[in-house]
């Protein structure tokens, strides 16, 4: 995003292409697959991201910014088609949740967050929360006891939550 803001057209194109993929999945889940509207929404959102990119604050994570635009465009779509009046803001949780990195754009922000943890804890969190290994499998891989893994993962999650809520302020 930042190189795109600085005028790197190729980077900007790569960002939009990647974002388009996530958006397609995101919108499909909410208005049904195969609807022609999905592609329109993707295009509208990409256009909005492009036109409004000056409102992105480089010191903040990219995902919430892009998600807010996608949500706005989706609400706008519902308003126009009159089919559904509201969409809960809590859905934003899907995108931020470490356990549910279905929208790959999140991975970058998650990576930034994870980088704040010690290497060992980071590897454990990645195994358990992102790759989806069980506590036992992760314990086997790291050579730690299952209990130690559980504690470490739990503390890591706590710390990440703290980091995220600090960012919000």
């Amino acid at each position: 995003m930042v190189s795109g803001l600085d005028g790197d057209g190729a980077a900007h194109g790569r960002l939009l292409a990647a974002l388009g993929g996530y958006l397609r999945g995101h919108f499909r889940k909410r208005i049904g697959p195969g609807a022609a509207d999905v592609e329109d929404l993707v295009q509208e959102t990409l256009l909005a991201v492009h036109l409004k990119r000056g409102t992105y604050d480089r010191t903040l994570p990219f995902t919430p910014w892009a998600y807010a635009i996608a949500r706005y465009k989706l609400l706008d779509h519902f308003r126009r088609s009159g089919s559904r009046a509201s969409m809960p803001l809590e859905d934003a949780g899907d995108l931020f949740a470490v356990e549910n990195p279905e929208e790959g754009a999140v991975r970058r922000d998650v990576g930034t967050l994870l980088a704040k943890l010690p290497a060992r804890q980071r590897a454990l969190l990645r195994d358990v929360k992102l790759t989806g290994l069980s506590m036992e499998e992760a314990a086997l891989r790291s050579g730690m006891s299952t209990t130690a893994v559980k504690v470490s993962v739990h503390r890591g999650m706590k710390r990440l939550q703290r980091e995220v809520s600090d960012d919000d302020r």
């Binding site: 795109g4 803001l5 600085d6 005028g7 790197d8 057209g9 190729a10 900007h12 194109g13 939009l16 292409a17 388009g20 592609e39 993707v42 295009q43 990409l46 256009l47 909005a48 492009h50 409004k52 990119r53 000056g54 409102t55 992105y56 604050d57 480089r58 903040l60 919430p64 910014w65 892009a66 998600y67 807010a68 635009i69 949500r71 706005y72 706008d76 919000d168 302020r169």
Partner: protein, 212 residues
Amino acid sequence: MTTADLIEALAGDAAPTPPIAAGRRVAWAVLGGAAAAFAVLLVWLGLRPLGDAVMSASFWMKGAYTATLALAGLLLVGRLARPGARPGAWPAVATAAVAVMVALAALELSHARPGEIPALWLGQTWDQCPFRIVALAVPVFVGVIWVLRGLAPTRLALAGAAAGLLAGAAGATVYGLYCQETTAAFVATWYTLGIAACAALGAAAGRWLLRW
């Protein structure tokens, strides 16, 4: 047009884009709007004798109250102008300002004799004050909405309400240069009512005016 074509076109149009200083733009709109409201006030109502006013605590109490609300509104608008930003602590600051003002009013009324209460509460101009505040808020509101349209608010009613709060509080600050009411009970009721009306109108108008 396929999405791939669109992306290619947009990538070709990727001129360097400096971040927009949203707060600064809004602040300029407020200054411009407040200057316009001041001009309207001079022509419409004139000023109160300010020489005496600046010596009185009530003048500064009113000014501090409305300026605090305006500042909270300004910072709130600056946040809501960006997608994904949270309101933060500013709604709480505005609420706290109102709470302090209401507490002052309650203190004042509790010390008053029963016969004095209507005079303290209603003053001379209670039936005009809220409407005048709404009228004086219009220039700032227009300016702030215009700036917001160039940014990207995604919660339209909330952003509109914040713009209304900001405009109402700025309008009330300007109106304080005319209004000779001095009691906390008056300010806590009628000023707050005028500003709240602006916020409500802003929320309703924002849904339409801020679409993009």
